[in-house]
Symmetry: C2
Subunit: 145 residues, 2 copies
DNA sequence: CATATTTAAGAGTATTAATTCTTAATTAAC
DNA sequence: GTTAATTAAGAATTAATACTCTTAAATATG
């Protein structure tokens, strides 16, 4: 059951590392993150480039450069990251792949699936990086192995 | 948001065609189904081979042969098809791909995702091909374009 | 038994997603 | 201005999924 691409998963994990490890400097380097989370440096760089282009991150080149959240972490919702990385049409899918499934001609599981998607969407809309970062800091959940 | 593979989607759509188009003979040919649903004959043949191997379908070769449900349609649940085609570990996933996410060391969205998965699983467990076939026959929903 | 119809099996190809690699641009510090 | 540290851009490669093709086996019918 692959609901999110590796791109989104790595992106979110890396952002959660950032909010749960308040760094001293203004920018945190991608190298540090990939080293800590054991991710591919080049792959995460590409992912973060996308988030920078979408206005979710700031980036700064050169020594002591890196990336930083463009907004306070309590104002960045999971939905922002998912839509940025998966595409704005992320929720426009039919579970069974029926061509033309929609309100006018629903597939046999349309209403059920609509409800599930609404649950997921609302949770992503109402969950900020800050909230999850706090859970990690409170050690209710874990970021690492 | 791709929750099911094309394999599962085509497989379920084809089975729904079967239950909503009670054929005269004992077996329905794969060629008829793919012609009606505009699917690839060879691809669906491969998918149905898997369902036959898993005991969900019977198959019979030769003229007027084809495939048939191995059990009455009200005893074949969507979960049976999904697990057969996606694998038994279909629900063993972490939304964010955290390594080792589980009860002992949950990721920050573990409990939320657990709930969603339970909703999906229980719906798939409680929905039979017969139920969906009836909805199609009652024209509440559509199988075709 | 010859032919036509159908599924079985799996090799082969194409498309998409994931990952790696190479080169360039920016900036700080000496 | 030279060097080192860092992101930017996107080409190139690999892996996974989706799909197609070829050959074989089974079976009904004349």
């Amino acid at each position: 059951m692959k609901v999110l691409s590796q791109t989104s998963k790595y992106g979110i994990r890396a952002l959660l590392y950032m909010v749960s490890n308040p760094s001293t400097g203004e920018y945190v380097s991608i190298g540090e993150i990939t080293k800590e989370l054991n991710l591919s440096f080049h792959f995460l760089t590409k992912i973060f480039r996308e988030l920078t282009n979408k206005g979710i991150l700031y980036s700064y080149r050169g020594p002591s450069g890196g990336i930083a959240l463009a907004k306070p972490s309590d104002q960045i919702m999971l939905i922002d990251i998912v839509l940025a990385l998966e595409g704005e049409d992320y929720f426009d899918n039919c579970l069974l792949g029926f061509p033309g499934c929609g309100v006018e001609k629903p597939c046999p599981v349309h209403n059920f699936w609509k409800g599930i998607k609404e649950d997921i969407k609302s949770h992503l809309c109402n969950t900020s990086l800050a909230q999850l970062g706090e859970k990690i800091l409170a050690e209710e959940v874990r970021l690492f192995d």
